[in-house]
C-alpha cells in the first residue's frame, strides 16, 4: 500500500509540475511585457524592476527561469493583480471559500437526492417509471447550464419573486468573515439578526446550488442505477435473499456499498466539467467566488489573476482526482488485488 501511495504522490507531483510548465509557457505568450505578466507591477521603480528580475531570474536561461517561477508560485507569491494592485494570493483566499460553499452544497444535493433516486430507478420494474427517470436524467445531462440558470432566475427570481437571484447575502446584514463560509459565519456572528441572516444566506444559496447540482445529480442517478442493476444480479445477493433477509436490508447493507464504488470513480471524472459549470453558475448568479473572479479577470485582461486562478483550480482538481482514486482503491478490494498483481 505504501508503494502505491508513493506512486500516486509521484503522479501528483509530476502532473502538477507539468501543469506549472504549461502555465509558464502560456505566460511567456501573453501579449504584454514578460516581467509585467509575471509580477503584475504596472510601473515598477528601478528597485522593483531589479527585484522582479532577481525573483524570476529573468536574465538566466529558460530552465532557471522556470525553477524560479515554480519557487515563486509555490511559495505563495502570485504577483499583484493588474487592476486592483492587491496581491493575487489574498484575493484568491477571499474568493475561494464562497466557491467551496457553493460546490459542497451542490454536491451534497446531488448525492443526497441522486443516490436514493438511482436505487429506486434500479428497483422499479415498471417500464414507464424507468423511461421517465431516464428521460429526465438525459435531459438534465444535456441542458446548457447558462440557459438553465437564466430560466430559473427568470422564473423563480423575477416572475414569482420567491428567491433572490444575485450575490451571497443581502447587503443589509453585516457579517464579519471568520471562516469565509457564509453559512458558518452567520451562525458564529453575535448579531441579534443572525438567524434571519442565516435564512437569507440559505435563500441566496438555493438557486445557484440547484442549478449547479443538475449535472452531478443526473450523472449520480445514472451511475447508481446501472451499478445497482449490476450488483443485484450477483450471487451474493441471491444468497442473502435465500437467507430470508428483508429487501431493504439487502439493498442498504449488501448492495449499496458495492454500487457506490463506481459512483465514486465517476465523481473523480466529473470534477473538470463540474468546475466549468461552477464558473458559469457563479457568473450568472453574481456569486463572489473564484469563477466570477476569473471571468472578470479575463474581461480585464488581468494576466496575474488568470494565472493564479487557473493554477489554484487545476492544482485542486489534480489533488482531488488523486485523492478520489486513492479512496477508490482503499474501498475496493478488487482493484487492490489488481494493484499487487501489477507490482
Amino acid at each position: 500500500m505504501a508503494r502505491y501511495l508513493l506512486r500516486r504522490l509521484n503522479l501528483f507531483l509530476a502532473t502538477a509540475l507539468l501543469m506549472l510548465g504549461i502555465l509558464f509557457y502560456a505566460t511567456s505568450l501573453f501579449p504584454v511585457e514578460h516581467s509585467y505578466a509575471l509580477s503584475g507591477v504596472r510601473v515598477p521603480s528601478l528597485q522593483q524592476q531589479a527585484q522582479i528580475i532577481e525573483d524570476y531570474q529573468l536574465e538566466q536561461g529558460e530552465l532557471a527561469q522556470f525553477i524560479a517561477y515554480v519557487q515563486q508560485r509555490l511559495g505563495g507569491n502570485l504577483g499583484l493583480s493588474l487592476t486592483s494592485q492587491q496581491p493575487v494570493a489574498n484575493e484568491l483566499a477571499s474568493v475561494l471559500p464562497a466557491s467551496f460553499e457553493l460546490a459542497i452544497v451542490a454536491g451534497l444535493i446531488a448525492l443526497v437526492l441522486g443516490i436514493p433516486l438511482g436505487v429506486l430507478a434500479s428497483q422499479s420494474q415498471h417500464k414507464l417509471t424507468q423511461h421517465c427517470i431516464m428521460a429526465i436524467t438525459l435531459t438534465g445531462y444535456s441542458i446548457p447550464v447558462f440557459w438553465l440558470g437564466l430560466l430559473l432566475s427568470l422564473w423563480f427570481g423575477v416572475r414569482l419573486g420567491w428567491l433572490p437571484i444575485s450575490g451571497q447575502i443581502n447587503l443589509l446584514y453585516e457579517i464579519r468573515p471568520v471562516s469565509g463560509f457564509m453559512l458558518i459565519d452567520t451562525l458564529l456572528s453575535d448579531s441579534q439578526y443572525r438567524w434571519s441572516a442565516f435564512k437569507d444566506v440559505l435563500l441566496h444559496l438555493l438557486l445557484p446550488a440547484i442549478t449547479l447540482a443538475v449535472l452531478p445529480f443526473t450523472v449520480v442517478v445514472r451511475i447508481t442505477r446501472s451499478a445497482m442493476m449490476n450488483v443485484m444480479n450477483q450471487t451474493f445477493i441471491r444468497a442473502a435473499e435465500a437467507r430470508g433477509l428483508k429487501t431493504s436490508k439487502i439493498i442498504v447493507r449488501h448492495a449499496l456499498p458495492n454500487a457506490l464504488i463506481p459512483v465514486l470513480k465517476h465523481l473523480g471524472l466529473m470534477l473538470g466539467p463540474f468546475a466549468s459549470y461552477a464558473i458559469i453558475v457563479e457568473m450568472i448568479f453574481a456569486w463572489p467566488g473564484v469563477g466570477s473572479w476569473l471571468i472578470s479577470g479575463i474581461y480585464q485582461r488581468d494576466y496575474t489573476v488568470i494565472q493564479g486562478g487557473i493554477l489554484a483550480v487545476s492544482l485542486l482538481i489534480i489533488f482531488l482526482n488523486i485523492l478520489i482514486e486513492v479512496l477508490h482503491t482503499v474501498s475496493n478490494p478488487l482493484s487492490r488485488k489488481e494493484l499487487y498483481a501489477a507490482n
Binding site: M134, P144, V158, L294, I318
Partner: protein, 296 residues
C-alpha cells in the same frame, strides 16, 4: 417477391446488423438518430433554406414574438431580436457554427487522441506511462479554464474556441483509447495471435482494434455533446463567437438585454442547443446499451 427458401438454414446476423437491430429496437435512440440526421442536413444546407441573411435587420419588426403568439407574424417564424434580425434564419446559420464546428473539433481531437493513445497503449513500461500521462495535466484543467488561457494568449474569437475545446478534448480520447488498448493487450486471444506469429502492427489493427472501436464510438458521442455545450458556453461568456455572430450561445448572450421584455430571444436558441445535445446523447445512450450485451 422473396426467393423461396430451399435450405433450412438460419441466417446468423453479422455483428453490425445485430448492433443495428438492438439499436433500432429502442425508440428513444431512433428518435435521437433522426434528430442528428436533421441537424446534419441543417448544418450542410441550412444556409440555403434560411429566408433571411443572419445580419439582415428589419427596423419595422423589432422584438417581434414568435408566430404562435397573437402579435407575431408567419414571416418571422420564430420572431425577431432587438435589431429586427430573424431568429429562425440566425438559428439556421448558427447550426453550422455550433454543431458543425463541434463535429470538426471532435474529428481533430479524435485523430490526435487516436494516434497518441494507440501508440502509448501498445507500448510497455515507462515510455507508455509517460506518453499516457503526458496529457493528464491538460485533463485536470477544466475546458473553460483552458479556453480562458487560450483567450488570454490569443484574444477572443471563434478560431480560438477551436483550439481551446480541442486541447481540452484530446486528453480524454488519449486516456480512453490508451486504457482500452492496454486492457485488451492483456487478454489471452492476443497472446494466441502472438503465438501465431502476428507482428505488432497486425496485432494492433486486426486483433485489438475491432474490440476498441466501441470505446472510440462511445467516447466520440460524449465528446460531441461536450463540445457543443462548451462552444455555446464560451459564446455565452463572450469569449468565443463575438457579437453579431449567430452562434447559438452568443445568441443567448445577445438576447440577455431583453430577457424580461422578449424572453424568446433567450429561450429559442437555448432550446436549439438543448435539442441538439439531447439528440446526440440519445444516440450515444442507445449505442452504449446496444453494445453492452455484445460485450458481455
Amino acid at each position: 417477391m422473396r426467393p423461396i427458401k430451399i435450405y433450412q438454414e438460419d441466417q446468423i446476423p453479422s455483428p453490425t446488423l445485430r448492433l443495428w437491430m438492438l439499436f433500432s429496437a429502442n425508440p428513444f435512440a431512433l428518435a435521437g438518430l433522426w434528430g442528428v440526421c436533421t441537424l446534419l442536413l441543417l448544418t450542410l444546407f441550412g444556409t440555403y433554406i434560411a429566408p433571411f441573411s443572419p445580419e439582415a435587420q428589419d427596423p419595422r419588426a423589432l422584438l417581434l414574438p414568435p408566430s404562435w403568439d397573437p402579435a407575431g407574424t408567419v414571416e418571422h417564424f420564430l420572431g425577431t431580436d432587438d435589431l429586427g434580425r430573424d431568429i429562425f434564419s440566425r438559428l439556421l446559420h448558427g447550426a453550422r457554427l455550433t454543431f458543425g464546428m463541434s463535429l470538426s473539433i471532435v474529428a481533430t481531437a479524435l485523430s490526435m487522441g487516436f494516434v497518441i493513445g494507440s501508440i502509448s497503449g501498445m507500448m510497455h513500461g515507462l515510455k507508455s506511462s509517460i506518453l499516457g500521462h503526458l496529457l493528464d495535466a491538460l485533463l485536470s484543467i477544466p475546458s473553460l479554464l483552458m479556453a480562458i488561457l487560450v483567450v488570454a494568449v490569443m484574444g477572443p474569437g471563434l478560431n480560438n474556441v477551436f483550439w481551446a475545446v480541442g486541447i481540452a478534448l484530446t486528453p480524454q480520447f488519449v486516456r480512453a483509447i490508451h486504457q482500452s488498448v492496454h486492457e485488451e493487450l492483456q487478454k489471452e486471444y492476443v497472446t494466441a495471435a502472438k503465438l501465431d506469429g502476428a507482428n505488432g502492427l497486425q496485432i494492433f489493427w486486426f486483433v485489438i482494434m475491432p474490440n476498441v472501436w466501441e470505446t472510440v464510438i462511445i467516447q466520440t458521442t460524449l465528446a460531441i455533446s461536450a463540445a457543443i455545450l462548451d462552444i455555446a458556453a464560451l459564446g455565452f461568456l463572450n469569449l468565443g463567437a463575438q457579437a453579431p455572430s449567430p452562434e447559438w450561445g452568443a445568441m443567448v448572450s445577445q438576447g440577455l438585454d431583453n430577457l424580461l421584455t422578449a424572453p424568446w430571444t433567450v429561450t429559442i436558441p437555448g432550446v436549439a442547443i438543448l435539442f441538439s445535445v439531447l439528440a446526440i446523447n440519445l444516440v450515444g445512450d442507445g449505442l452504449r446499451s446496444a453494445l453492452t450485451p455484445i460485450r458481455t
